[in-house]
């Protein structure tokens, strides 16, 4: 097994080997000059640059006009520290699976179903059961997708699109048409949404999940195998990696992240509707792609996934704080996602 780069990508194929000879014309036409080639393949570096620049801009704007742009206010940290972790944890799940070369479009409906299951079990008084069943459902739903994809060799895009519709209907069947509501206990609130200085407890969960999966993906053999299978399945098989097993593990990781995100959101809002997670799969995939995860598999970083999710929500925050017309909010968010993805592509130095 080859060593991983800081971006985590192993190089079992020629594709990932450093370019030894770059045509002179290519050097001249490369965006932002030749220095960009130096940061190629460094995982989260590209998105990190954008994120830091945005943060610097926000801090400057806050210092200039703290009243009209309260970016560094405690209340704003409070909001961001509740919204970013859920999308970031979902982005980690979606991103790890994308690195393994697969998609899961049923992520949003899995997330909804898990949140409904958690609320129903918790409301019935079985707290331990609520956690056990929610994680079992989340992982089980994702693993079922994985089994169908690997066993029948059907593209995950199609399988999970079908399963997305299935679980959408199942959520209505299980829950009925009314919003599910719960009354959270103090202990549950402290653990999943407690106040920690200016932040909320969700940040701690994101940190734990991010560190765990960073170690797993970038410092552990399993991570190497996931990158290898997503980068080149045949080459991975040739060096005795079992792609089916690796992909199933990646689906399981997604399920784990989905269940945790569902619990966080259920505890926060104490109210979940069957339609809640619709579109969340695309947001999670968008966050991962903005964070530098390749749609073709084999490339990406956990830090990038977190920063991608954070960037999307921070930019929404900036727009609302600065008084951008709320009516057209999605217009700006859409442009930002595309621009960030294009910037990533350019900075990778791979734009054709």
């Amino acid at each position: 097994m080859s060593n991983t780069t800081s971006g985590g990508a192993p190089s079992p194929t020629m594709e990932d080997q450093p370019t030894t000879a770059i045509p002179a014309r290519r050097v001249r036409t490369e965006p932002f000059g030749g220095w960009l080639r130096l940061v190629r393949g460094r995982g989260a570096l590209e998105i990190g640059i954008i994120f830091v620049l945005v943060q610097i801009g926000c801090v400057v704007a806050y210092l200039v006009a703290p009243d009209s742009f309260p970016y560094l206010s405690e209340a704003n940290f409070n909001v961001l520290s509740q919204s970013i972790p859920v999308l970031a944890i979902l982005a980690i799940g979606a991103g790890v699976l994308m690195i393994a070369g697969e998609f899961d479009l049923s992520l949003g409906m899995n997330y909804t179903f898990c949140a409904l299951v958690f609320i129903h079990w918790y409301s019935s008084g079985d707290v331990i059961g609520a956690f056990v069943v929610t994680f079992a459902m989340g992982i089980g739903i994702a693993l079922l997708n994985g089994v169908i994809v690997t066993r029948f060799k059907i593209p995950s895009f199609i399988v999970t699109l079908g399963m997305m519709l299935f679980w959408d209907g199942a959520a209505l069947f299980y829950n009925g048409t009314s919003a599910a509501r719960m009354q959270r206990g103090e202990t549950l609130q402290t653990i999943f949404a407690g106040q920690i200085g200016p932040f909320r407890g969700q940040v701690v969960w994101l940190a734990l999940v991010a560190v765990f999966f960073w170690v797993l993906m970038h410092r552990h053999k399993l991570g190497n195998h996931i990158f290898a299978v997503g980068g080149n399945e045949s080459a991975a098989r040739a060096i005795s990696i079992n792609p089916t097993r690796v992909k199933l593990i990646a689906f399981g990781i997604l399920g784990l992240c989905v269940a945790l995100a569902a619990i966080l959101v259920a505890v926060r809002t104490q109210s979940v509707q069957p339609g809640t997670g619709r579109g969340m799969e695309l947001q999670a995939i968008a966050a991962a792609v903005v964070g530098g995860v390749s749609l073709r598999g084999g490339k990406g970083s956990v830090l990038g996934m977190v920063l991608g999710a954070a960037l999307i929500l921070v930019l929404q925050d900036i727009l609302l704080l600065s008084g951008a017309p709320g009516f057209y909010l999605n217009l700006f968010i859409g442009v930002i996602i595309v621009v960030a993805a294009v910037f990533n592509r350019l900075i990778e130095g791979k734009a054709e």
């Binding site: 209340a75 048409t177 919003a179 509707q273 600065s322 009516f327």
Partner: protein
């Protein structure tokens, strides 16, 4: 109430009396029940008893769930076969559902017309095919109105005006105040008309509204409203124009430490709690249960007796506030 009791009796005996001049009579013996309606075949006179009831949003939303419940209850009372379908917020799919209904040939069709032109062709095709079409929740004027036989729903602009007046009277808003009006889908007719009603009332003091799209996801709505409030410290009042922002507004204000007067649309458990605690001054209830129930009830009367449906303002002219919140609290989220 007497009619309901009669209908209830009728639904357990889905049969007809002597319906003069009808070729679609059930052949079962008449029910042994009193009341001219039942003796004349209410709940069993027409043979084709299928009503297709199309929901435009996700029935997982408590508001649409309550509409569904009203429709189901009326279907049981009037002994009609209810085919509930939803497009889950997809207008294209909704249009397809109307088209499918024409092909399926139900006796009657209940539709939400949230666009002045999009559904006209299919709605009019249904009407031409002899299917009784009744609009509920949202309707339009113009060509499409000619193909529907009535409307059951709230007069959005009137309700908005009532709320705006209430806000000015109770909150003592200053001249030229800025009012935040979060809503799930700002581009939809209900949002535009409600906002117009609120704005019409606020014109008296030169105040202005601003809409923000929240969607129907509670967490997303909470985030957007909190961030907006943080960035707009000059907001003097809030009027959530839909159920999702309304039930999350108290949490959003708590999150950012803002306390301004609130009046809003649509009831739910958190809104009831907000009215009781004094955070929410008043709420306009468009009574979704009535929208489901009366739509199906009127269509059943049309099928059995060819009675032309009436237009019903389901919201009436009342607001829910501290004085009457106890009455609706017990039924919030189910019937109200």
């Amino acid at each position: 109430m007497p009619l309901l009791a009669l209908a209830l009796a009728g639904c357990s005996n889905a049969s007809n009396g002597a319906g003069a001049g009808s070729s679609a009579l059930s052949t079962e013996p008449a029910a042994a029940a009193s009341g001219a309606g039942l003796q004349s075949g209410l709940g069993g006179r027409a043979q084709n008893r299928k009503i297709t009831f199309l929901l435009s949003q996700d029935p997982g939303d408590s508001f649409w769930g309550t509409i569904s419940q009203g429709a189901k209850d009326a279907a049981e009372l009037f002994n009609v076969e209810l085919n509930l379908q939803t497009s889950q917020g997809d207008p294209g799919k909704y249009n397809d559902l109307i088209g499918s209904a024409v092909a399926d040939k139900p006796a009657a069709l209940a539709v939400v017309i949230d666009d002045p032109k999009r559904y006209t062709e299919n709605v009019c095709a249904a009407s031409k095919a002899g299917i009784a079409v009744l609009a509920y929740n949202i309707t339009q004027e113009g060509d499409v109105a000619a193909c529907t036989s009535g409307f059951v729903g709230q007069n959005f602009e009137e309700a908005g005006f009532l709320l705006g007046r209430r806000l000015i009277a109770e909150a003592k808003l200053p001249q030229g105040a800025k009012v935040f009006t979060p809503v799930e889908f700002p581009e939809q007719v209900y949002a535009i008309q409600r906002n117009a009603g609120v704005q019409k009332a606020l014109d008296a003091i030169g105040a202005k509204t601003e809409m923000v799209a929240t969607g129907i996801d509670d967490a997303g709505a909470l985030d957007k409203m909190s961030q907006y409030l943080l960035g707009h410290k000059d907001i003097a009042a809030i009027v959530p124009l839909g159920g999702t922002p309304h039930r999350n507004i108290e949490a959003a204000m708590t999150d950012v430490g803002v306390k301004v007067p609130v009046v809003g649309f649509d009831l739910s458990k958190p809104v009831i709690d907000g009215i009781k605690s004094g955070t929410i001054l008043a709420a306009a209830d468009q009574q979704p249960y009535i929208q489901g129930f009366q739509t199906v009830a009127q269509l059943a009367l049309k099928l059995d007796f060819d009675l032309s449906p009436a237009t019903i303002n389901s919201g009436g002219g009342g607001l829910v506030d501290k004085s009457n919140v106890a009455i609706v609290e017990q039924l919030a989220g189910t019937i109200r």
